[in-house]
Amino acid sequence: MEKRGLNKVDLIFEEIDLKEVLTAAYNMPQAEIIQKVLDSGLKGRGGAGFPTGLKWKYAAAEEDTDKYIVCNADEGEPGTFKDREILDRVAYKVYGGMVLAAKAVGARSGIVYLRGEYKFLLPQLLEELVKFHKLIGEIGYDFSISYRMGSGAYICGEESALFESIEGFRGEPRNKPPYPTKSGVFYRPTSINNVETLVTALMVIKHGPESYSQLGTKDSRGSKVFSISGDTPSPGIFELELGMTVQAFVNEFGDGDTKAVQVGGASGFCVPRKRFEDTIIGFEGVPTGGSMKLFNSSRSMYNVLHNYLDFFAEESCGQCTPCRVGCQQLLKGVQKVKKGEVKSIYLNELVKLADTMKVASKCGLGQSVGNAFKTIVENFREEIIY
């Protein structure tokens, strides 16, 4: 297994001459931009990890004059705050990534869907947008971006729920297929990309796919912005090369007493101390949209699990039964086990329920509740029971 050490990188926040990069991109054929992004090995940075170049290729292949680029700035995963930092510090690079995607795909409209919790950023983002529109107008691009605000629904980070929300409906995910590249916002071909993905794609075009793909491992190319919180002396935003072990991460960010790291937020995986050494942070091990939470031995993993289940029970959109009822029952179930109202073996039934939710739920929310549930219950069973 290919492993990397802990290596700090500065790509996302690096100041660049946007005009220079976008002028070069303006003169590149569509296919060349897509090929470069494909060659870089970049996978979506929101969490799901779909290859970005492929997404653009599919959207580009659609024959429709009305296509959209959507920037998913609805980061709501517990423990994730990197997109806020990116928008706060380098919004012009996010917009640059969007116009690059637009050129690759053949779109003229872009929408940024910003979570309601980040509304305080909107004035400065709009100010930056005015400058951006002027800049790309001078280069010759025919593209414009508008903003849509979320209103506090976690599920709207799911792409099709986000489209529903933009269109003025409840944020309930759609059936897939069709995928957004065929039928996205307003049922038009849409490339929807995470904030960080767009900036990374722009940097791939600036530095070339060869230099980018030297970072990381075969399955997890490049670097990634991590949101680090919990029991750590240095919480915050760090851009790190992918492919490090959880151990290397804990050596740098732990407080000397780390017993578990939750990788990927409430919908991610709990890695216990005994697995630090052999678990890689990346698509070959534990994938993450950036959320890294450290827990030391003073923390009850029951409280952690309870907090996550409470979160999911509230944030499930309620559309499909496995997720709506499943989240509630998992929460009630662990409460009953803790209180001793049922035998501890009942946890096995709950694990089966989590497995069922994984296959039967309509979208990523219900499908991923089992990740944290199972990894916490399996590794900290005694803390859940006693």
Binding site: R84, G168, R170, F186, S229
Partner: protein, 155 residues
């Protein structure tokens, strides 16, 4: 505070009358009135020529689009894991003592509502809260008292 009918008209002129204008209009009303009253939702439904049930259906899905009366300042204390670990309960207690209300309630003078919220994206500076759209981070009980006092003086 705008009068409701004028506000809805103004918002529909700005955002349009199609279905996709619904969210911005709902958000615009909440910005001014802190919540969506039944009258507001009926007004919006008439303006966009859709059923009031459609308006309520959309509004009631979103946590920030309250259909229950809220105060002028809506306080949302983050309750997700990192904030919970870093002293959220103390923060809530301080707010409850100071405002003399419980979570979910509004002060008698309609100035403050106290709510809990899921992750608001400030885990590295926990505990955190929002007052309307403004984030406050690395909270301590003392800091909270100062912040609330400054809002009380805004009356």
């Amino acid at each position: 505070m705008y009068q409701l009918g004028n506000l809805v008209k103004e918002l529909s002129e700005k955002h349009g009358k199609s279905r996709e204008s619904l969210m911005p209009i709902l958000q615009g009303v909440v910005d001014q009135h802190s919540y969506l009253s039944d009258e507001a939702m009926v007004e919006i439904a008439n303006e966009l020529d859709i059923s009031a049930a459609e308006v309520y259906g959309t509004a009631s899905f979103y946590t920030f689009l309250d259909t229950k009366e809220r105060g002028r300042y809506v306080i949302r204390v983050c309750k997700t894991i990192t904030c919970a670990m870093k002293g959220k309960n103390e923060i809530l207690q301080t707010l409850e003592d100071m405002l003399k209300i419980k979570v979910g309630e509004m002060t008698v003078d309609r100035q403050f509502s106290l709510l809990e919220s899921n992750c608001i994206g400030w885990c590295h500076k926990a505990p955190a809260m929002l007052i309307n759209e403004i984030p406050y981070t690395e909270l301590t009980p003392e800091k909270v008292v100062e912040i609330i006092k400054s809002y009380m003086q805004k009356k």
